[in-house]
């Protein structure tokens, strides 16, 4: 990391340096950070091609939540990996309510794939598990505030 910062200071405007740093920390949370860093060291060119061109750099913060926003710098999909696949999840247990709770919003609705970043298979498992959990009252069908209002 020290090396790349060095390079930024000498060769590039500082604004861009900040951009790439922010990005790598964001990747951290998704666990594919290792790739990113090594492509910074510009050995792995194929990786670099896929990820590091201009449009990606801007607006990479917001579009986790707002993926419908038109991206500046051309159409670009960051390739994101299903976390369930990364962890090689074979099944999702409906009893693990605290896990499933992460994948419903405050109104109790199942988050769409663009929010969960799950692949089709795991999204199916996830939604099935959530529905089972709802049936046995481990998860709510609706948010508390919705229920209170309607009685």
């Amino acid at each position: 990391m020290a090396e790349s910062e060095d390079r930024v200071r000498t060769e590039r405007p500082s604004a861009e340096g900040r951009g790439s740093e922010g990005r790598s920390s964001e990747r951290d949370s998704r666990g594919s950070d290792g790739d990113r860093r090594s492509s910074d060291g510009d050995r792995r060119s194929s990786d670099g091609d896929r990820r590091s061109s201009d449009g990606d750099r801007r607006g990479s913060d917001g579009d986790r939540r707002r993926s419908f926003r038109p991206r500046r710098g051309g159409p670009r999909r960051r390739n994101r990996v299903c976390q369930f696949c990364v962890e090689k999840v074979k099944s999702i247990d409906y009893k693990s309510a605290s896990l499933l709770r992460q994948y419903i919003n405050e109104r109790g609705r199942i988050l769409p794939r663009r929010r969960t970043a799950a692949c089709a298979k795991h999204q199916r498992m996830l939604s099935r598990a959530i529905k089972r959990a709802r049936h046995v009252a481990l998860l709510p069908y609706t948010g508390e505030h919705v229920r209170v209002q309607q009685g």
């Binding site: 074979k90 049936h135 046995v136 009252a137 609706t142 229920r147």
Partner: protein, 112 residues
Amino acid sequence: MRTYELMLIAEPELDEEALAALTERIQQVITNNGGAIVSVEQMGRRKLAYPIQRRREGHYVLVHANLERETISELERSLRLSEDVFRHLLVRLDEVEEAEAQAPAPETPEAS
């Protein structure tokens, strides 16, 4: 014969004795109809995520059992009739185990 998981939610007013009697009855239904109990776990009294007919809590019981098709229909019937059980969920468990049984043998060319 497949392995199933049964989760049932019983009336919160039941005391320990009544709860034990209830689980005993359920086990009877299973074994008398050609099923075999694998395990029974009391998950305790828990708060429901939403009220079910004014109830805010329930005793959760988890049963793993090997069941035949006929056993299932009989079990479901008695669960619906039981006044102590107000909600139940019966799901097949062996989907997972089959997948896991196939997974540790990646040497065979037909995998994936």
